[in-house]
């Protein structure tokens, strides 16, 4: 395969997910821009087992780099180490794999910042006191778990002494389960003020329940969600504002990080600098899990003023 283009692969969690599609398209843009070839893969179900298979296939193809959005923090370690042994550059993006199985991680936003920001938003919506609850994806989702941890840390601040986290519920990223869990939250805690849902399916389901029950203004929702999914509920007041980053940029930044590491320009150590096309310069920093990471930037706030322009984008 002399003379063939360098090939860089991106593996998302599962197929048919607009968030992932955007991330993959951003990655593709970034790779193609540099004159390489991009391979975009995702299993049909979001399991680590399926991702292991895909990575083995990529190893056999001798790709130059693999960037993965991990379905499991630890379970990909053996196969990622294999890939490294085969001379392939491995990174993670969005949802990290453990430091031993990556050169660096492309973090869409600082986990700590996400956790703290969401609690501050809830504090703001609750008006300083009252009950709040969290509606997460599955109990095994590493991203969400990390954010929830930071939320709990933030709540230790005495400023939140009147805020009471009553429950962490898991909607498993299923519509029906998320709806049932939201309904149960509302029924069990009639005085609930805010639901924080750091996952798109969960926040949209919660928004739907609030809207159907006409509880806008009584119970508020915030969290992380796709603007397209949340437009309706931001516009009708169920969700005053929420956050997300631009998945296209996550993919785009990953593309530049991958080529930078693969070409030996950087090694993924703290302090390494590289430029990422239209996004400008980035620095590799220390990550809280012990590895290194590249931080995209602060999460973007979506509210009634800007949702209309974003809802058609992603």
């Amino acid at each position: 395969q002399e003379g063939a283009k360098e090939r860089h692969a991106f593996v998302f969690k599962n197929t048919g997910n607009p968030y992932g599609e955007k991330q993959m398209s951003g990655f593709e843009d970034g790779i193609v821009e540099q004159g390489f070839e991009a391979i975009l893969r995702a299993p049909d179900l979001p399991t680590a087992e399926a991702q292991i298979q895909i990575i083995e296939q990529l190893i056999s193809q001798n790709v130059t780099s693999i960037t993965i959005t991990g379905n499991d923090f630890d379970a990909l370690e053996p196969v990622m180490k294999n890939a490294m042994a085969a001379g392939i550059t491995v990174l993670s993006a969005d949802s990290a794999v453990n430091p031993a199985s990556r050169k660096t991680h492309i973090n869409q936003a600082d986990s700590e910042m996400i956790g703290r920001t969401l609690i501050r938003a809830a504090f703001d919506m609750a008006g300083g006191s009252g009950q709040i609850a969290i509606l997460s994806a599955t109990s095994q989702a590493s991203n969400q778990n990390l954010w929830i941890e930071w939320m709990k840390k933030e709540l230790e601040d005495p400023k939140y002494k009147n805020i009471q986290l009553v429950r962490v519920a898991y909607g498993d990223d299923l519509r029906d389960k998320s709806v049932a869990e939201t309904e149960a939250l509302l029924r069990t805690y009639p005085n609930l003020k805010v639901i924080i849902a750091p996952t798109t399916v969960g926040i949209a389901a919660a928004g739907k329940v609030i809207t159907d029950k006409n509880l806008q203004g009584k119970v508020f929702i915030t969290g992380l969600g796709l603007p397209s999914e949340m437009a309706e509920y931001i516009e009708n007041g169920a969700c005053p504002y929420m956050f997300l980053w631009n998945p296209i940029d996550v993919g785009y930044l990953s593309a530049y990080a991958a080529t930078a590491v693969a070409s030996g320009k950087i090694t993924g150590k703290v302090g390494d600098k590289f430029s990422a096309g239209r996004l400008g310069e980035f620095v590799v920093t220390q990550a809280s899990d012990g590895g290194t990471e590249v931080l995209l930037g602060p999460p973007f706030r979506f509210d009634p003023s800007n949702i209309a322009e974003w809802k058609t984008v992603y």
Partner: protein, 332 residues
């Protein structure tokens, strides 16, 4: 008077899911103790709304199981028909919701038609045909949607009101489920075609010998299942105001579980609407009540399993006691 009593006994003996009913009552009482909002009117309505899609699907699955089949593809059919009608609504917002419902039902019937063709005509084992179609239909759902979702803001208000509107003070979903139950109750108990479904499942060879159009009956059953799944797809998308490619993955297992809980035999031939309702209700309670009783989320699945197991075991015990008493009454 005397004959009346005898008649009553005859009926209770025939009510094979008595144990299940007792179990549901017991369970409800227990949950009520832990969370007093459980047996309130509004919660029961929520429970019914959440159970309605499942129970609509269960009716179809019951017929499929009766003719010794199984349909593993319904989760995919839900996603497919839901996606198609959502995409249509997104492009033509002024479409009447009834058209959407019709469209989804037709798309579902189309899938059912194909499965029926495979199973009834080409004699492909139902489990293989539907497992295959499960993959194929899911794949096509991803392909037509190109990985996008259709979100709430893209759907017209009338479309979303399919699931949230009210008819005669009742939620539309519940009304639709009730109508479907009544229609199918009549269909399978009081029409010749309906009874032939049982005959085909009870003894396929005999059905063929006695001239029942076995192939057509089986085919029809899969079309009906597909139609109901298609309808459920529209209801699903309208209810959650979002259409995704991975909608209802694995939902077929819930439906089958509700059916077997309701006493419908996997090996065909038997199953009653009364049992089916109980199965669906128990499932509704499980999904609605577990989050309510305030246990650690990590215990939920375990508790759910234990509840299912106890339900079927208690049902068996009650059945056994009934039979033993029937034997004791027999004079020899």
């Amino acid at each position: 008077m005397v004959s009346d009593r005898k008649n009553l006994r005859f009926k209770t003996e025939n009510f094979r899911e008595l144990g299940l009913l007792l179990f549901i009552i017991l369970l409800s009482v227990l949950i009520q103790f832990r969370n007093p909002t459980f047996l309130t009117f509004s919660n029961i309505e929520t429970l019914l709304i959440n159970a309605s899609i499942l129970s609509i699907l269960a009716v179809g699955m019951m017929m499929v199981l009766i003719v010794r089949g199984i349909d593993l593809s319904i989760g995919s059919t839900i996603a497919f028909s839901g996606m198609i009608s959502a995409m249509t609504v997104a492009s033509y917002p002024h479409i009447h919701p009834l058209i959407s419902i019709l469209q989804g039902t037709l798309v579902g019937s189309g899938v059912g038609f194909l499965i029926g063709l495979l199973v009834a005509k080409f004699k492909v084992l139902p489990i293989i045909a539907t497992l295959g179609m499960m993959n194929v239909v899911r794949g096509f759902t991803f392909l037509v949607s190109k990985g996008r979702w259709i979100s709430a803001y893209q759907m017209s208000i009338p479309f979303k009101e399919i699931a949230t509107g009210r008819i005669l003070g009742m939620n539309t979903l519940v009304v639709i489920a009730v109508v479907i139950y009544s229609a199918f109750y009549y269909f399978i108990n009081h029409t010749r075609t309906g009874r032939q479904i049982y005959a085909v499942g009870s003894n396929p060879d005999a059905a063929e010998v006695s001239g029942i159009p076995k192939i057509r009956i089986i085919w029809m059953v899969y079309i009906l299942m597909g139609a109901l799944a298609g309808l459920a797809g529209v209801l699903w998308v309208s209810r959650f105001a979002s259409a995704q490619g991975d909608t209802a993955v694995g939902y077929e297992m819930n439906v089958i579980a509700a059916c077997v809980l309701g006493g419908i035999s996997i090996s065909g031939g038997s199953g009653k609407v009364s049992g089916l309702i109980l199965g669906a209700v128990l499932f509704g309670i499980l999904n609605n009540a577990l989050p309510l009783i305030n246990v650690s989320p990590f215990w939920q699945q375990g508790i759910q399993g234990v509840v299912i197991l106890s339900a079927v075991l208690i049902n068996v015990m009650v059945k056994r006691t009934n039979e033993r008493q029937a034997l004791r009454r027999r004079i020899i």
